[in-house]
Symmetry: C2
Subunit: 331 residues, 2 copies
């Protein structure tokens, strides 16, 4: 047991990514909606893997990528998520602990294997994901350590988990504990299809439970069922304390009460693979926030971290993010 | 059974690489000779992995990387190597078959797990490897299919396998079958430490069994125990039919009877990770050779393939090598 303060605890799926290159025709043939995330079962995962090109394996999972980014930026982070006690699970655990992240969720000792996400990267650098949730589905409220949540300035929740009944209960417990301890709750909407499945619940969360909401343009317009970004912006403004809206190569917008910040995108030397862009934006933003920086600086930090991760394959930072940010922000 | 002709059959270790970044101090602390390959056992692998930073996993193995490069260049290739029937073994098999490589070696059903190579990449892009050979050690003469070797223009052997008694017998069988069928045998020396362990045997092979020898500067000078590259060049000239000597950023030299070709290095936009440089040079060279190209063109193809693989993490090509080469060679 420890009582060390934490900047962020992330709760999400514990997934190992398998990245491979593919073309649009391959996506069409296999009915994979480009840019989206499709849930698949173990036999579908095996069938798709069989058809995929050669891959590289690396730890992923949206909230896990975010806490990895926070650690890379010098923050103190923890992760809650469920692996199986199998080789892929060991890889996932290793990759978080190796960068100093507190990760004590007990692995499942039976049942399905560690979750895998088959990520197909098209020549335009877009990623299309097919996820076998595996052992992730076993995450439940018992895995949420009340003391750990209370130690963290921000508890960061991954919208993807809303697909799982037990995980929803884990979220509800985390939200209650965090707010009772005077802490903040952040949520990322994760995926437009995910928003579609739970629109009413997510709007209710945004209004009553979430302090900091992360969404990209497709997700936020889907949430409020409008085609117009500005219309969605006006709606979310009345809901959360802070809304962070990312718009790909159009930059990002941060809204908090009367404040609105428009952050231009970072110049991008080399676009290779967009996997992890949103996750690392959140990492940069939350790092800034927990360091007490202005919302404008938080947005810049998000943009810089996102630009780094999309300049190479894989969803976790490779470069020295801390140096990159102090270089670009001059502090 | 098939009787389709093959360009190259590669025989080597079936290894999954785990790549992580490290600094020189980490190498010193763990007694890892920079740029070299150290053999470790399963418990040493577990202990080192525990200390390493976060990694990415991708299929590797020297000869396997070479046949992957040959397939990427449009050649017909096969691989012989031993995995265990475990998840890492499945990854290894998938990654070769997914690019059309004939790979029918029966996986081991018991014993140690699939081989892993812990690759530490330092900021200067050098790679230092620690290899747990795992199921690879079970490769033996029974795994060499005489018909397959006889179908291949070139049988390519990985010097690393010389560490294993059964694999040596597999090599001897492959050399005999290939030569009886009027085919060529190629060998890569693999590693200066490996050359050190088997100098006398490798010289004997070079004189009597090997038609095409691949070595880098450190390996060839170690083989002939001289500090001078030119001295080693003169010695090897009298030994093999073709010797292909790579010199890193100094380019490469090809020697065959009276012919000597000096190939300047390719311009390199971005040096990231030297893992696989030698393997992909061999892929480009052997592709050219089996297409009946001149030795000069073979050398250029090797240089181009090597330059691609060192511009990103991992030891297998990511770019369209075939297009790259037809672009650069103009045919």
């Amino acid at each position: 047991m420890t009582d060390a303060p934490l900047d962020v605890v992330g709760i999400g799926n514990a997934i190992v990514d398998v990245l491979a290159q593919a073309d649009d025709e391959f996506l069409a043939t296999h009915n994979l909606p480009k840019g989206g995330m499709t849930l698949i079962d173990e036999s579908q995962a095996a069938a798709l893997y069989e058809k995929m090109g050669p891959g590289i394996e690396c730890s992923g999972g949206s909230a896990a990528n975010t806490v990895a980014g926070i650690a890379a930026l010098g923050g103190r982070a923890a992760f809650v998520g469920k692996v199986r006690d199998d080789p892929l699970g060991q890889v996932f655990v290793h990759d978080l602990r190796a960068i100093g992240i507190e990760f004590d969720t007990r692995p499942a000792e039976k049942g399905v294997s560690t979750a895998r996400c088959l990520v197909l990267v098209t020549p335009d650098a877009q990623r299309t994901m097919s996820t076998f949730l595996g052992a992730s589905v076993a995450l439940g409220p018992d895995d949420v350590d009340e003391g750990q949540v209370a130690r963290a300035q921000v508890t960061y929740l991954e919208g993807y988990l809303w697909d799982l009944a037990q995980a929803k209960d884990a979220f509800r417990k985390a939200m209650k504990v965090a707010h009772e301890a005077g802490r903040k709750i952040a949520l990322t909407l994760s995926d437009a299809f995910c928003v579609d499945r739970y629109r009413r619940e997510f709007i209710d969360l945004a209004q009553h439970q979430i302090d900091i909401l992360f969404a990209n343009e497709v997700e936020i317009t889907s949430l409020y069922q409008t085609a117009d970004f500005d219309a969605a912006l006006q709606q979310v403004r009345g809901h959360c304390e802070v809304a962070v809206l990312t718009r790909g190569d159009k930059g990002s917008v941060i809204v908090s009460g009367d404040e609105v910040h428009i952050i231009d995108p970072e110049p991008l030397p080399n676009l290779v693979d967009t996997t992890g862009a949103g996750d690392l934006y959140a990492a940069g933003f939350l790092s800034g926030l927990t360091q007490g920086r202005t919302l404008h600086e938080c947005g810049r930090m998000g943009s810089i971290a996102a630009a780094e991760v999309i300049s190479h394959f894989g969803a976790r930072p490779e470069a020295d993010l801390k140096a990159l940010i102090s270089d670009k922000l001059g502090n």
